[in-house]
Amino acid sequence: MRPELEHKPSRQQVNEVSAPKASHKQRPEDLPLHQIISDDGGADTGPSTLPDSELVRLYRWMVLSRLLDERMVGLQRQGRIGFYVAAFGEEASIVGAVAAMADGDWIFPCYREHAAALYRGLPLARFVCNLLGNGGDLILGHQMPCHEAWRPGNFLSISSPVGTQIPQAVGAAWAARIRGEEMVSLAYFGDGATSTGDFHVALNFAGVRKIPTVFLCRNNGWAISTPREAQTASESIAQKAVAYGIRGERVDGNDLLAVYDVVHRARARAAAGEGPTLVECVTYRVDAHSTSDDPRAYRPPELVEPWRRKDPILRVRRVLERRRLLDEAGDARLASEVRDEIERAITEAETYAPKPPLESLVQGVYAEPLWQQREQLAAIQAELTDGEGSEPSSA
C-alpha cells in the first residue's frame, strides 16, 4: 500500500484504529451462516444483543411492512395505484439492518426497502402519495411508485437501474470521513446487483480506502426470473468479500436478531476505522418481483414452501411468545392498529390534489429551469388554455 493510500483516522477514531484486521484472516470457507432464532422460531440458538423493548418495536415495523405490502398489492390489483414492489419474506433483513445503524447514518436503498424509509420517518401518507403520484408526492410525480426519497431521514432516492447506489454509498461515507464526521453508510441491494460493475467498483474502492460502508445484500434467490445459481458461480455472495480484502458475513436473512447483530457489528467495525463489510442476508423472495411479474411462469411453487415455514415474522412472533412479550390477543391488537394506521394514511393521501402542478414538469431538473424548459412549459400551458385537441404551437 502506498503511503498516501493509508487512511488517516479522524479524531474520534484514533483510539480504535489499532483493532486487529480481521478481514485478512478470512477465507471463502470461513463464512458460517449466523443464526440466533431457530428455523421454526421455537428456540434461540445463541445470545442476542437486541433488548426486549426493541424487539417488540422492530416486530411492529415488520408487521407494518407485511400488512402495507398486502394492502398496496391489493390497491394495485384494483387499479388504484400503477405499480408496487413488495418485500414479502424479507422484512427481517430490511428492518434488522436499518435498526442496527445509527440514526444519522445514510441509507442507500435498492427499491424494496419501503419499511426502512418509514422507519426513518417518511410519513406513511406521503409514501402512499408517492404510490399515487399525486399532489402530495414528495418527489412531485417524477418517478414510478415505490421510488420514494426522504431527506430528513437520510434515506436516499431510489433508482431503478440495479446496483447504482452501491458506489454512491461508498462516496457518501468517504465524504463523511473527509469531513471528520462519524457516519457509516448502508447500501441495500439484491443478489442480482452483485453481477453489476457498480458492485465491483464499490467494494473495490471501499476495500482500498477502508471506507465505512455496510454492504447489505438481500440474497433472495431471484432477480425477476433468474435464480441465484445463474447469477454467479460463487458458492456464496459473502465470499466475494475475501477477494476485495474486506470482511464478509453470512447471516440468516429471515432471522431478525441475527441480522441486527451482524449489521450492528459491521457498523461498529466501520466506525472504528476497520473498513467495510459485505453482509449476505440469505433470504427468499416468496412472492413476485413486482406487481408486473408472475413467478408461476418460471418457478415451481414447491421451491417456495420451505421458505414460507421460515417466515421472518412468524419466527419473531414465536420469540415474543416464548419471552412473554406478546400474547395472541396482543398480537391481534397490534395488527389491528397497524391496519388502522394504513387505512388512515390512504385516506389522508387521497386528500391531496390528484396530480402535481403542471410546473412540476420542469422543476428540479436544474436549480433553475433553462430557457428551453420555460418555453416548452409555456407551450403546454398554452395548449391547455387553447382547449383540448389544439396542435402544439411551434416556437
Partner: protein, 324 residues
Amino acid sequence: MPTMNIIQAVNDALRIEMRRNANVVVLGEDVGKFGGVFRATQGLQEEFGADRVIDTPLAEGGIIGTAAGMALYGLKPVPEIQFSDFIFPAVDQIVNEVAKYRYRSGGQYTCSMVIRTPYGGGIRGGHYHSQSPETYFLHTPGLKVVVPSNPYDAKGLLLSALRDPDPVLFFEPKRVYRAAKGDVPEGDYAIPLGQAKVTREGSQVTVLAWGAMWHEVDDAARQAEAEGIDCEVLDLRSLQPLDIDAITRSVVKTGRAVVVHEAPRTCGFGAELTALIQERCFLHLEAPITRVTGLDTPFPYTLEEHYLPRAPRILRAIRDAARY
C-alpha cells in the same frame, strides 16, 4: 498579468477554489501524486493533502459513482476522467444518477459536481484519445456542458462551474492545452455559464464554434477577411446553458450561419444549433445554414488532419455561405 496556458489556468482555478471552499475534492486516476497525465492537478495534493486530492482505482464508473455519493453528502467533487473517450463506463452514473438526483427526489437531494475531462483530436491519439462526446451529455437534461477555448475562459468558466448548483461536464480542449496561451488575471474571477463571446464582430457570416475548433474558425475568419468576407465569430463557451440570444442576434444581423464542431455530424450539436437558428431566424436567412464537422466515422489515426475541420474547409463553407 501572468501568461498561462489552459492547463495552468485550470490548475489555478482548482487551487483558488480549493483554498476558498473546503468541500472541494479532486479525484481520479493519477491526479494526486503525479498531478494528472496532463499535469492539470499538479501540486494540488502537496497543498491540500491526499484526503482532498485522491488517486482512485482505475474505474470511471467508480470515480463518478463515488463522486456522486460525495456530492450527495455535501462535498463538491471534481472528478477527472483522464480522456473523455474513457467516460463511457461512467455514463450510467452520469446520465441516470448524477443528472437525475435533484429531479427524481423532488429536489430533496442534489448531486452537484464538475466532471473535468480532456477531449478532442489532433494529437495523434487515434479514436480512443480523440473523441468529442459532448452531444451525449447535451441530450441529458440535468447536466450542464462547458467547453472553453482559451486560458482566460478556462479559469473563469471553471470557477463558475465549481460554484454552480448543478452538475457540469467541463470539456478541456487538449489539442490546445499548451498551445493556447494568454493573459490570465491573478486571483478570483468568474465567467457566468451561458454567455457566448463574440470574438470577432462582422456583418456577413456568423460562425459558431467552441473549444479547439474556435482556433480554426478564427484562422478561417482572418483569411475570409483578406478575401473581403466579413465574419462574426461566436465562441459559445457553454453549450448548456446555451446563449440563444447571442446566436439569434448575430444571425439576424448577418443572415448567414456556419456551425463548426469536430464531433461526427449526425446528431452532433451542430444539428441542434442549425434547427434553433432555422426556427428563430427563418425570415432573416440569406443562405442555408451549413455545418463543418468531423466525419460520421470513428476518429482516425493516420488521416486525422483530413477528418478534423481545419481552417481551409471552414473557409470554403464561409465563402459558400457569403456567395449563396
